[in-house]
């Protein structure tokens, strides 16, 4: 019996990734980048896509993602995306922001952009921590989570409560799609990729604002071994932020 020739079923990365990233072992953000670019490729919209990238570890992706990019100020990506989309309505415009960028510095921007029904897609990479600065508390740090600015764990008495931005966005009129995925398991990666695809399909249909929140591992900022990221994520972020497509409650 002769062995059949191997048939490629999954490339390591799309050609839109031009080189290596410098992010930590076990980081979830490069996985999110890969599925995002795969979706742009599969939808055939690479040559009209414009990304607006905020500030965090993922900011370095600007150097390796082969789509047009505006690297913008911390928190302001939805506003910049608004300006781009208004003057280039045929372009597919997305943002890539972390939780510090979108929920701390830029909460106002994302909420107002959503409420305007701006026809753009915002992508939140949420790991519940400022990874880039070395593990500090963000607006999405879950109760009990240890960070360098909540050493004994986030305590509502002292640090207040985390903000579920996807639920806030889903409560607004003008929003066409909100979903939350996670890249901590193979199934989660595949489901998250389908969410991204749906969000872009809504933008292509001109339906209005879309948000895909992606829970990503940050073992460095969580102070856990690289391999423990998925387990930590399921016990912390995923417990606080349930996965799936969110019901839209703000329809006029």
């Amino acid at each position: 019996m002769t062995e059949a020739a191997p048939r490629l079923v999954a490339r390591d990365r799309p050609e839109l990734i031009l080189g290596d990233h410098g992010l930590c072992p076990g980081c979830g953000e490069p996985v999110a980048l890969r599925i995002l670019l795969e979706v742009l490729e599969e939808l055939g919209i690479v040559e009209r896509s414009i990304g607006v990238v905020g500030h965090g570890c993922y900011g370095s992706f600007v150097q390796i993602m082969d789509v047009e990019v505006l690297q913008c100020l911390h928190g302001r990506a939805p506003s910049c995306a608004t300006g781009i989309k208004r003057v280039r309505p045929a372009a597919v415009v997305f943002t890539m922001q972390g939780d510090g960028d979108m929920v701390n510095e830029g909460l106002q921007e994302v909420l107002h952009t959503a409420a305007r029904g701006e026809n753009v897609t915002c992508i939140l990479l949420n790991n519940g921590v400022f990874g880039d600065t070395g593990g500090h508390q963000t607006a999405t740090t879950v109760v009990g989570q240890r960070t360098k600015t909540s050493l004994d764990g986030r305590d509502p008495e002292t640090h207040g409560y985390p903000i579920p931005v996807a639920e806030l966005v889903a409560s607004l009129a003008g929003v066409s799609y909100v979903a939350r995925g996670a890249v901590s398991t193979a199934g989660g990666v595949a489901r998250t990729k389908r969410m991204l695809r749906s969000a872009f399909e809504h933008q292509l249909a001109g339906d209005g604002f879309g948000l895909v929140e992606i829970l990503t591992m940050c073992p460095t900022g969580w102070f856990v071994p690289a391999g423990s990221g998925p387990e930590y994520l399921s016990g912390s972020l995923e417990a606080a932020y349930p996965l799936g497509e969110l019901p839209l409650r703000g329809q006029p």
Binding site: E3, A4, A5, P6, R7, L8, V9, A10, R11, D12, R13, I17, D20, L23, C24, P25, G26, C27, G28, E29, P30, V31, R34, V183, S184, T185, A186, G187, V189, A190, R191, P219, P225, A226, G227, G229, P230
Partner: protein, 119 residues
């Protein structure tokens, strides 16, 4: 024999271990030696199903996944090269633990890639 195989770009690996945990047939294992960056990396044992779970979770784009085409009539339902990970709604073409017995690596290693460190 295995129904699938992977190529592993060991020099790009940062040793996070996510693939080992994600592998349904449990055919990946971290090496004892290290790559040029000083990281341990996964090695493949017999029994790969080509399910793509490792490729899906890998943050460092280390894996390419291949399947050995089934004999006529045995082709999987999807018939497409798109990834069909376990745990999905769609039936997996290669349920965990049902890989064919004979080893594929390194003989199944596709050309032009770094060695898929065979078990």
């Amino acid at each position: 024999m295995s129904r699938g195989t992977v190529s592993i770009d060991v020099e790009r690996c940062k040793g996070c271990d996510l693939c080992v945990q994600a592998c349904p047939p449990k055919v990946l294992e971290m090496s004892t030696e290290v790559n040029g960056m000083g990281y341990r990396f996964p090695v493949l044992h017999d029994g790969c199903t080509g399910c793509t779970a490792c490729q899906l979770v890998c943050p460092d784009y280390v894996f390419q996944v291949y399947r050995f085409d089934a004999a006529p009539g045995e082709e999987d339902a999807s018939g497409t090269p798109s990834a069909t990970p376990p745990g999905e709604g769609r039936p997996s073409a290669t349920p965990p633990g049902e890989g064919r017995s004979s080893g594929t690596a390194p003989g199944g290693r596709p050309p032009g890639r770094a060695p898929a460190s065979g078990g």
